[in-house]
Each structure stands twice: as C-alpha cells, then as structure tokens.
C-alpha cells in the first residue's frame, strides 16, 4: 500500500483507528478518571509497550518470547537505579553507616557503590541504558539462538529459563539489587517530585506520547519491505532463506526491537509506580504479557494496546472484589483466546464490526470512506489460513 501523505493516511480507515485510540487515551480517559485511576491506566499503558513488541515479534515474525519480562525489568531497573541514586544523597542518607549509597546496600553491609551503579548518576546514560541494555541482551540471545536456527518452542523455553535466571539472580544478590523488595522509595526525577498527582498526570501523557511514537515506528517497520519479509519468514522460513535472505539477521533485529520497546515500557513503569521489583521480571509476569498480546490480537498493533489495557483493568477489578476468582478468569482467558479466537479482539472486530462499518460507510458515502485496497491488505494477512481454517 502506498501512503502519499501523512494527512491522507490519518483520514484513511487505519489512520482513523489510530486517531480514535489517541482520542481515548489523551482526551477521554484523562477527563473521565480521577488522578489515581489515571495513574493506574498509565501503569497498564506501560505494558502496552511490551504488547506492541510481542505483536511485532510473535505475531508478525512468529518468534514467541516468554522472557519479555526480562527486558521490561531491565529497562525498569535502569530507571530505578538512576532514581535511587538521586534519592540517596549524602544528606538524605546521613544516618547510614555509609552515607551516599542506597539504603538497601547499607542494610546488606555493602560499603561502596558497585561499579555497575556508578554510571547511573548520569541521566543521559540512563536513558541510553534503558534502550541499550535490553537491546544488547536481546542481541546476544538472538545471535546465539537464531544463527543456530533455534526456533519455536525451544526458543520459548530458553527465554523462559532466562527469565527464571534473572529473577533468582536479582533476589539472591540483595546487596546490589534490593533483593525481593526491589528498588523502592523513589522520590524525584532531576529534582522534580514524581509522587504528586500533577507529576503522575504529566507522566501519563508522556507515556501516551511515547506509546504513539513506538506504535508509529512499529507500523512503519511493519509496512516496509522488511515487514513483508517478516511475514514471509513466519509462514515459509525456508523459502525465504533459499531466496537469499539472512533469516537470522531479520529475526535478531525484530527481537531486539521488541526488547527495546519492553525496556521503554519498564522505565516508564518505574516512573509511574515509583518502584521496581523482581515480581515484574519472572516467568509468571512474562507469560502474562503474552496474553495481553494474544487477547488484543497477535497480528494487530492496536489490538495489543487494547489487550494490555483490558487484561490489566480486569485484573485490578477482579483483585479488588474477588481475588480468588482472578486465576480462574486468567486461566480461562489463556485457554479461550487460544481455542476460540486465536486472532483476539482485533480478529473479532474485523469479522463482526468491520462489515457493519463497511455498510454504514457505503450507505452514507462519506468522504472518509477509505478506498478498498488501503485496508484490504491488512485484513487478508491478519488471518493466515493455517490459523483461520482448522482441520483436525
């Protein structure tokens, strides 16, 4: 498909979906919710970054990573280390036996700031680390695995093992990482308190803006020639390889991209919530992140965003009123989404709502009615035939 100008794209049907999401996140929700609830939505939005990454990596390229929590956590920890150092000024920690280091280090008889904490005094280094640390780890994993053509369930199991390793490591090395409690008690960002309602609302809008930036990057990658190769690779890997493409390189790139998105999400999570702990890193959170993406629709970027919002909202809702029922609901969600509607909400939307839209648009003949071919491409690809037609 060709988009001649950004404006024209915005008025196409796909563009309108993006506008609708922007309207929902930037106007409707802030007006409708009080700051506390808005902050919660902001927290859910940070998971949407992971979901977008998973749509690219799992939906488009067929690589299921069960270790996205690792990258989310690394991004989050990078940001938390910066904030913690800022909170641990020698004045604020004067009562410690070693002033000027984070409190949990002092409790664990660490007397000197470890070397890997040192660079996190700098904000620009931290911002780079949020992107590069997850990206670099993903690159190493990707090179090691994809060059040797490890794929499918093996890749999933190994990423899961990595999530497990990182969690054990963080919990075990209490003096350097804050252990099971994580890095807590974060107060200010460059002297600006992140605890006030205004700060949280501002951070919410920052998250929305960055989310759209990531969405557009993902969409751009998806619609480029690169995206076509990813799809081809997912469906017929060997044919792509025999056509002369370096399949491993493409997989490494998309895995790194997904990891960086997750890292950004983690950093924003730390800012919104004010702490980071290993409970967002391990096996269970990582696999939950996959369900955000699966519920929204594994082939749809916007679906991923809605999936993350809905699952998390449901989780909070259930945990408030019926905490025992939530695991059942979550389990049923996993099973239902896989067995009954593998294309998620986006698939349902395409099947049931889009025809209605078509009829409405055709009936009224509004100028916004997009030419058929602009939307057709996504529709066809969203339902690969081996998934939509099931033969026992």
């Amino acid at each position: 498909m060709k988009t001649s100008s950004p404006l024209k794209w915005l008025l196409s049907r796909e563009g309108l979906y993006y506008l609708a999401l922007a309207l929902l996140l930037a106007v409707i929700l802030p007006l409708a919710l009080d700051p506390f609830r808005l902050n919660m939505v902001g927290k859910y939005l940070t998971y949407a970054f992971v979901a977008i990454g998973l749509v690219m990596c799992w939906g488009k390229a067929g690589i299921l990573s069960l270790g996205q929590g690792v990258f989310f956590g690394l991004g989050g920890y990078c940001m938390a280390m910066f904030l913690k150092l800022e909170a641990s000024t020698p004045e604020a920690t004067a009562h410690q036996s070693t002033p000027g280091i984070p409190d949990f280090m002092d409790w664990n008889q660490v007397t000197e700031l470890p070397w890997f904490w040192q660079p996190f005094h700098s904000f620009s280094f931290t911002l780079m680390a949020v992107l590069l640390v997850p990206g670099l780890l993903a690159f190493i994993i990707g090179v090691a695995m994809f060059k040797r053509r490890v794929s499918g369930v093996y890749f999933a199991i190994i990423t899961q093992a990595i999530a497990s390793i990182l969690t054990i490591l963080i919990i075990g090395q209490q003096g350097y990482t804050g252990g099971v409690n994580g890095i807590t008690d974060l107060q200010t960002l460059m002297g600006w308190s992140i605890r006030t309602d205004e700060a949280k609302t501002t951070l919410y809008f920052v998250a929305v803006a960055v989310l759209f930036l990531c969405l557009l990057v993902a969409r751009w990658v998806d619609h480029s020639k690169f995206g076509r190769i990813l799809l081809a690779m997912r469906d017929q890997e060997n044919r792509v390889r025999f056509s002369g493409y370096d399949v491993a390189a493409f997989k490494i790139f998309i895995f790194c991209l997904a990891a960086m998105f997750a890292g950004i999400g983690g950093a924003l999570f730390t800012l919104q919530v004010g702490f980071m702990s290993p409970s967002f890193v391990g096996i269970v959170p990582s696999i939950e992140m996959v369900v955000f993406c699966a519920l929204g629709g594994r082939y749809s970027l916007l679906g991923g965003v809605y999936g993350a919002l809905l699952v998390n909202a449901a989780k909070s809702g259930f945990s408030e009123s019926f905490p025992e029922l939530w695991p059942y609901a979550m389990g049923a969600l996993f099973i239902g989404v896989v067995l009954a509607f593998p294309n998620g909400l986006a698939g349902l939307y395409r099947r049931y709502v889009m025809p209605l839209e078509d009829r409405l648009l055709r009936g009224k003949k509004t100028p916004a009615a997009a030419p058929k071919e602009t939307t057709a491409r996504r529709d066809d690809e969203a339902l690969p035939d081996h998934l939509s037609v099931e033969k026992p």
């Binding site: 090691a144 369930v153 093996y154 190994i158 093992a161 390793i165 075990g172 996959v290 389990g331």
Partner: protein, 308 residues
C-alpha cells in the same frame, strides 16, 4: 573456591553433596519422564505438567488420610494403593484434557503452551480452594523412616532411596514401553510420519490420546513419590516446571538416556555448587551453564540422528 579445603575434605564434601543431589535427581527424573513422553515423543508442550504431578501428590495425601482413619492396620502398604490411584486419576484427567483442548492444537505448539499454562493456573487455584494455600505432608509408614549409614559423613535416608528406586523403575518402564513394545512402535510411527502411520492403519487420534494420558499418569505417580520426600502445596509443581523442561531439552528431547544423564548432571552440579556458593547463585550458575550449552548445541546432549 576450593582453595580453603584439603583434598580429603573436598572428596567427602563432593560425596556428601553428591548424595544430597540424588534427591533432586529423583525429582527431575520423575517429572522428566512424563515430559519425555509428551514433549519428547509428541512434541506437545504441557505447562500444566507440574499440576498433574501435584494432583498425584494430593491423591496420595487423601489416600493416606483415608487409610489412617479407616484401615490403620494396612497403613504400611497405603503407598502402593496411592500410586495406582494417582496414576489412574491423573491419567484420566490427562485423557480428558487431550480430548477437550490439546487435540485441537497439535499444529500450533506455541498455542498449546499458552493454553496449558491457562490450565495450570486454573488447577493451581482449584487446589488452593480445595486444600488451602498451606503445604500438606503425608505421614510415612514406619519402614520408610530411618537411614542407612554408608560412612561417617554419608547416610542415605530410606525414603530418599525408595523414591530414587521408583524414579529409575519408571524410567525403565517408559523405556520398555516406548522402545520395546508394539504400542511404543505405534507412538513413534505417528510422531515421525503421521500420514503414513494413518495409511498403515494406526488409529492416530487414539494413540495421541493414550500417549498424552500416559504422560499425565506418570506425572501423577511422580507426584505420589514426591510426597515421600517433600510437602505439597498448590504451586509446588510450577516451581519445577521450567527446570524440568530444561532437563528434557538439555538431554536431547527424544532420548530417554539423554534425559537421565542431563537430570543427573544438572542436579549434581547444582548440589555441589550449593556447598560453596549460596543456593541462589548455585542455581543461577547451573541454569546459565545449561542455557549456554544449549545455545552452542541446540539439539541437546544426545540427539537422535534424523533427517529433517
């Protein structure tokens, strides 16, 4: 890390930790045998495997309660009844799950993984509602108490030894069933070439269901044995599932001997390092080594040579 110890001390440390690691080895072998059938032979990822194991453990717990209350005279032998019951109950549930869920997903292994994870969440919560969040333990019959004194430093508890014998006999049984019986031949035929197997008259759907049920049944027996050496909680199964998958993958998914060798090396490495490092670092190093070896050699220790 070895510098502080003399060579005789080191030797007895290795011996002591080696025997301690045998208990972990038994757990790995017990869990991995069911997985070796379901994952190794069928290629299906069953994330609820740990929960099937815990189902067997709770069955054993209930059986022991029943014997204690109604037949205290026969208490010494309750364990054998419990093992059979655990096999039947877990196997029946496995057959049901295969029928309701897994058979629709054979072409989508990644989706099986997610669906069985959902199942495991539901089963865990069900255990929590029925048996409570606290761990339960069974009372051991008298003959399982006590220990053999092997040397001054090393003693072998009877229950640990018993569990290891069960683990190894299950492994032997699985080997005979898969590689020396007609049924095992059918299973392998279906795995290697489904259309051809169908063409020669094998009921492939039936074989699938029986294989899955058998794997789950073995998980149940494993859980039953597990109660002899540890207590059982709703999420005990999940604690081992990733490690066990690594054991199976590390050994080479289709090789039973490979699975046992990898279970042995992983458990021994972890147990030996635990003496010198903290428990968590020992685990981190072991898992990391396994992951790195798998990256260098993705087909595992003992790979089946087949043309792909």
């Amino acid at each position: 890390m070895f510098a502080d110890y003399s060579s005789t001390e080191l030797l007895s440390i290795f011996a002591m930790q080696g025997f301690a690691g045998l208990s972990l080895f038994s757990v790995f072998v017990l869990m991995a045998m069911g997985l070796a059938i379901i994952f190794g032979q069928m290629g299906v990822i069953n994330m609820a495997h740990g929960e099937f194991m815990i189902l067997g453990a709770y069955t054993t717990y209930l059986t022991s309660q029943f014997f204690q209350t109604y037949m205290p005279g026969l208490f010494a032998g309750y364990f054998f009844v419990a093992m059979v019951l655990a096999f039947l109950i877990s196997g029946a549930l496995g057959a049901f799950v295969e029928w309701a869920m897994v058979r629709h997903l054979y072409r989508r292994p990644l989706d099986t993984l997610l669906a069985t994870w959902g199942l495991s969440l539901i089963m865990q919560q069900a255990y929590r509602s029925i048996f409570g969040a606290r761990e339960v333990g069974v009372e051991l019959p008298d003959w399982m108490m006590g220990a053999f004194q092997v040397s001054d430093l090393v003693q072998l508890p009877v229950n640990g030894l018993f569990v290891m014998i069960i683990a190894l006999s299950i492994a032997l049984a699985v080997y005979l069933l898969m590689f020396r019986s007609g049924w095992g031949r059918k299973v392998r035929a279906v795995v290697q070439n489904r259309p051809m197997a169908e063409a020669v008259g094998i009921n492939t759907a039936g074989v699938d269901r029986a294989t899955f049920a058998l794997g789950c049944g073995i998980a149940g027996v494993a859980g039953s044995a597990f109660t002899m050496i540890g207590s059982t909680g709703p999420s005990s199964g999940q604690a081992y599932i990733v490690d066990t998958f690594l054991v199976v993958v590390f050994g080479g998914a289709q090789s039973l001997i490979g699975t046992i060798v990898s279970a042995f090396s992983i458990s021994q490495a972890q147990s030996t390092m635990e003496f010198f490092l903290s428990g968590s670092m020992a685990k981190v190093l072991t898992l990391l080594t396994v992951v790195i070896i798998l990256m260098l050699r993705p087909e595992g220790l003992m790979a089946l040579k087949i043309r792909r």
